[in-house]
């Protein structure tokens, strides 16, 4: 049932604002169009509501007990929130995004054109709280309310009560957006409700210290203090490198020495450290390709330098700047000519695009994506590739951060057209793609019941797209491959394939782009991709 949730309800309504049900969710293509093909939704544990915010939709993204216990705490929370709102509007405290934020707040025509762009809103069965304008309208009204003459303005510009309910629900609601910014692409006025979601997250972390643990305490903080958000240490990395070299030898017969901390190299290659732990074949494939192509490259074993992620880009400008600056400092110390980012979408955007304007002087070292380099290697036939070795249906997922937000669209397609005879596009694709549903941290937020929100709602559109792309060969006997050249996207896709048992039901596998290239290499006898 589609509840009619009004803006004011965020401050007033008791219990959950909305409830996700299987009946309301967007329908999936065959074979998931039959009843019983997907697990049911669960209820949040009743005891959670004591400390955690289950009052939005029953899901908990902010896995920190932060509900006020009494009136005084509630008042303090409201005051702190007001302070945060003022800092969002401040030229110094928010120089990083002040202009886009103010424009997006001031000029929305409430035409709702953006709603149809949002995969979360559509997948949920058009639940009001996921509409890109919902949280934006609340923030807009609250900012007007606290400005001079606020109560008077509220009468004409729309009001919403500012209380603990509003604050707690708004914080959760900021984590129901993947920050894919497809809505901004639709907006006739060029406004950005994705940015507004990010600014709300920022207010909560930069003023309250409140954010999902996977992003903050176990994310950026761990990254800066131990070297990687995965917990991987420099010593651990060195052990893994040795293991990778042995595994390459075992799988391909090639003797490859993975260069680490080689000062003066042309390229510093940085991977999402999640690859080291979950998809070592990706790291190995990079090593094989770069060595075979004769590139002069190195990895770093410095703390932070072996993990390209920068979760700050999703929620915190200060943590973002710290990590970006460390990446640049490591590149400077290694005296490389350029930094190349591996298969990690948000690291692409964070390091190459967004951080560009905090790198001044010696920190301004050129940074680029691995994708044009790979296409250059394939185009110039530096590798002997046989496309027939990839003779299975392949589709491509476009990571938002690489494509819509950075404009790298064709190199990956040119490679796939060259090496995968059964390559087919998802629809829509390229810069108009849908997010995998793992964007903005969702892929790594695994505590409490948040994974269910991800698999049921945020990744649903991507699952539909994948199924649609393979409808001509949907039976499990035909092995199929979703190429997702981004670590977090891969994680999200792994989880949907698992949740819907799609590998067994439909023969759908997933992996990166470099694996497909190595799989096509003529001199490697065994299939590199393990699907069969």
């Amino acid at each position: 049932m589609r509840e009619r949730i009004a803006i004011q309800d965020i401050a007033k309504k008791e219990g959950q604002l909305v409830k996700i049900t299987l009946e309301d969710l967007m329908k999936l293509p065959p074979p998931y169009d039959k009843p019983g093909m997907e697990p049911n939704v669960t209820e949040p544990k009743p005891e959670w509501s004591q400390n955690y915010v289950t009052e939005l939709d029953g899901y908990v993204a902010i896995d920190i007990p932060w509900k006020p216990k009494n009136k005084e705490e509630e008042e303090a929370m409201v005051q702190k929130f007001i302070n945060g709102l003022k800092k969002l509007m401040d030229k110094e405290a928010n120089w990083t995004f002040l202009q886009p934020l103010l424009l997006s707040l001031e000029y929305c025509a409430r035409c709702q054109t953006c709603s149809d762009a949002c995969h979360i809103y559509i997948s949920s069965g058009r639940k009001e709280i996921y509409r890109p304008t919902y949280r934006a309208e609340i923030l807009r009204r609250l900012i007007k309310k606290i400005s001079s003459g606020g109560n008077f303005k509220a009468k004409f510009l729309g009001d919403v009560e500012l209380n603990a309910k509003t604050i707690l629900r708004l914080a959760e609601c900021a984590y129901r957006c993947n920050l894919c910014r497809r809505c901004a692409q639709y907006c006739p006025l060029g406004l950005d409700n994705g940015l507004i979601a990010r600014e709300i997250r920022k207010l909560f972390v930069q003023e309250f210290g409140i954010a999902p643990q996977a992003l903050h305490a176990q994310g950026t903080a761990k990254h800066l203090t131990t070297g990687s958000s995965t917990g991987l240490t420099p010593d651990g990395l060195k052990d893994m490198i040795e293991f990778f070299e042995e595994e390459i030898k075992e799988k391909t017969g090639k003797n490859i020495k993975i260069p680490v901390d080689e000062k003066g190299s042309d390229i510093l290659l940085i991977h999402n450290a999640g690859e080291f732990l979950s998809w070592p074949e990706n790291i190995e494939a990079f090593a094989i390709i770069f060595e075979e192509a004769g590139l002069d490259w190195t990895l770093s074993s410095e703390i932070v330098g072996y993990d390209a992620v920068n979760y700050g880009v999703w929620y915190d400008d200060v943590q973002f700047s710290r990590i970006a600056l460390k990446h640049a400092e490591i590149a400077r110390k290694l005296d490389v000519n350029r930094v190349v980012v591996g298969e990690c979408g948000h690291a692409h955007k964070a390091l190459t695009v967004v951080a560009d304007r905090i790198f001044v002087g010696e920190y301004q070292i050129p940074r680029e994506s691995f994708l044009p380099i790979l296409w250059d290697i394939v185009r110039t036939k530096k590798l002997n590739l046989d496309p027939n070795k990839n003779d299975f249906p392949v589709t491509l997922h476009d990571p938002c951060n690489v494509v819509r937000l950075m404009g790298i669209v064709e190199p990956q397609r040119k490679i796939l057209r060259e090496i995968c005879p059964k390559f087919r596009e998802m629809k829509p694709n390229g810069v108009y793609n849908y997010c995998c549903g793992g964007g903005s941290g969702f892929a790594i937020m695994n505590s409490m019941n948040f994974p269910e929100f991800r698999t049921k709602v945020s990744t649903r559109m991507k699952f539909k797209q994948i199924l649609d792309a393979f409808q001509d060969n949907i039976s499990p006997e035909v092995k199929k491959y979703v190429c997702a050249p981004c670590s977090n996207c891969k994680g999200a896709i792994r989880d949907i394939l698992g949740h819907y048992n799609a590998t067994a039901n439909c023969g759908i596998h997933y992996g990166g782009l470099v694996e497909l290239i190595v799989n096509a290499m003529v001199d490697i006898e065994q299939p590199y991709i393990e699907m069969f």
């Binding site: 120089w95 995004f97 202009q99 910014r181 044009p372």
Partner: protein
Amino acid sequence: MLNFLIYTAVAIFVLVLLAKFVKYSTMPIHLRWEIYPVPHDPRHEHGGSYYEEVSWWAKPRLKTLAGELKEMLMEMLFIKRVFTYKRSLWWLTYPFHTGIYLILVWFVLLFISALIDIFAIGILKMPVYYLTLVVGSIAIILLLIFSLALFIRRVSDWELRSYSSFLDYFNLIFIFAVVLTGALAWQKDFDFTIAKDYMKALITFSSPPTVSLETQIHIALLSLLLIYLPFTKMTHFLTKWFTYHKILWEDEPVIGSEMEEKLKKYLTGFKVKWSAPHIDPNLTWAEEASKCDLAGKCEVKL
């Protein structure tokens, strides 16, 4: 008195718009936040950017003005995004905006007609006379119908209504009132001769012709609209320039640009100010960002 109101309204309109432009132009340079396709990039047809090139910084950065102009004009003249993504609204908002464009053209034609009279350029008199008649008539009819239609849609559609504030309705009603009084005035001056004479008086700072009560009300309301409009979000015709050119299409890298000095000033001069445990509000952005050293010592307090 009416003349004074008109001159004041035009002056306020221009000055407040100018102030708005200055306000947004002088804000700090924000972090890069573009969205592709960026139409001035020659690869925009497929949504590409200079990042598709190996060692992009070593290559000349090509820009196509034609690509940007085309996209701008598609949006300005046809409201392309609403047409593509929300067709049902486009059928109402497009004629409405066309009406606004045409009424602006009508004002220009009226101005030209007045000049033709002042300078006695006989040859242009009749073509401009008929053009003014046609443009003005279409504009009034479009605005009358579609300002009301947009209002009705906003009231009747729950998805719009539940987000709309008093001012969202008021703006449409205000425009409707101005156009309605304009339409009534038009009945007394069907070929816009009096309107032209009025314009002539405004240009030459002389006494205006005698006009009907409807016209007087219309002129007063129109002047009030001119005074009110620059304070509202209806100035999106101006701010769209910032949202597109300065944010969504702004792909200028620091390498090779002149923005570095400004950025240094922000980083070393602006205080972070935020108060969460992991932030020291008294430090500058540069001090805060470099707090964690490469030996792994870091003061991230949670």
